[in-house]
């Protein structure tokens, strides 16, 4: 059962990622990304990480992708123009991607044992097991996360403020109302 579900949602994941690249309208791409994120959550679940699966949906599908959709809605992003790409993309991009893919496959196959395994199966890591590690052994990274959040808040505010408050005031006022 685990294997069947793994292939179904792995398939969703890959299909979503491909659709993300091929779609022309940004909102379709954003939706495909949501599909990718959500099927990743199911894959985490199959690997026994239930807390991580829920958090994946809450944070990625429910928060980060909401921002993406917001930006698309706010900026009135239109269907993108299809360019035929620069020549460099064809000459370097495709062989480069193929080489990377081949390299990764080679490493996974040849060095699989030393990389460690993830097991599809009925073992589930409970939230209390997870948090006993997080709040005792990994305390410093946890506390640093909050500093990171603070920095991100400052960054977001700095990005969104407008730099010439006197000139732009009339424009911003009329926008929403």
């Amino acid at each position: 059962m685990h294997l069947v579900l793994f292939f179904i949602f792995g398939g969703f994941c890959v299909a979503g990622a491909l659709n993300l690249l091929l779609q022309r309208h940004p909102i379709n791409s954003a939706l495909s990304l949501i599909v990718v994120m959500t099927s990743l959550a199911v894959l985490y679940l199959l690997l026994g990480a239930e807390f991580l699966a829920a958090v994946q949906v809450i944070v990625y599908s429910g928060a980060i992708m909401v921002l993406f959709t917001f930006v698309i809605m706010l900026l009135n992003a239109q269907r993108e123009e299809r360019t035929h790409g620069s020549r460099a993309a064809y000459i370097l991009g495709f062989p480069g991607a193929a080489a990377l893919f081949a390299l990764l496959t080679f490493i996974f196959i040849s060095n699989g044992k030393s990389l460690g395994f993830a097991v599809l199966g009925p073992d589930m890591v409970s939230t209390s097991q997870l948090s006993s590690v997080l709040f005792r052994d990994l305390l410093l990274p946890f506390e640093v996360t909050s500093v990171l959040i603070l920095i991100a808040i400052l960054g977001a505010v700095a990005l969104a403020r407008h730099h010439e408050p006197h000139k732009d005031e009339s424009k911003t006022q009329g926008k929403e109302r």
Binding site: M124, E143, Q173, K175
Partner: protein, 135 residues
């Protein structure tokens, strides 16, 4: 006692999602089949309280909406970290060997976040009518 593996418990949840979505699609399909279609040009226009449509709806909007989504991500990550802490909080005195250690680790964490809220507040990001704000 559970007589089946714990992971089976997620299967009904998955089925529920599929059934709920299927029900939604079925209703859409049925209403398309049953409902009468007598559309006309005026009916198919966007609704603007009876007057002819003026321009396109999709324009640019206040950056405050973007700020809300941005801040939501950050505070959501913070909220998500609170839950595993809450799960284990009453065991932390035993695990860490100190009575209030668990409390202080969250106070430090929340301290930074509260500073963040305070900063955003003072910058006027949360004031939707305030023109003094930085947005």
């Amino acid at each position: 006692m559970q007589s089946h593996p714990y992971t089976w418990n997620y299967l009904p949840l998955l089925i529920q999602v599929v059934v709920a979505a299927g029900l939604g699609l079925a209703i859409v399909g049925l209403s398309w089949l049953i409902g009468r279609g007598r559309a006309s040009k005026a009916k198919l226009d966007a609704y603007e309280c009876g007057v002819p449509v003026e321009g396109d709806a999709r324009g640019r909007f206040s950056v405050r909406f973007y700020m809300v989504a941005m801040l939501f991500i950050l505070f959501d990550v913070e909220a998500v970290f609170m839950l595993p802490w809450a799960v284990i909080y009453r065991h932390l005195p035993v695990l860490t060997g100190s009575r209030m250690f668990g409390f202080w680790e969250m106070v430090v964490y929340l301290g930074f976040v509260v500073v963040g809220i305070f900063y955003v507040w003072k910058k006027g990001i949360l004031d939707w009518t305030n023109d003094r704000g930085d947005l």
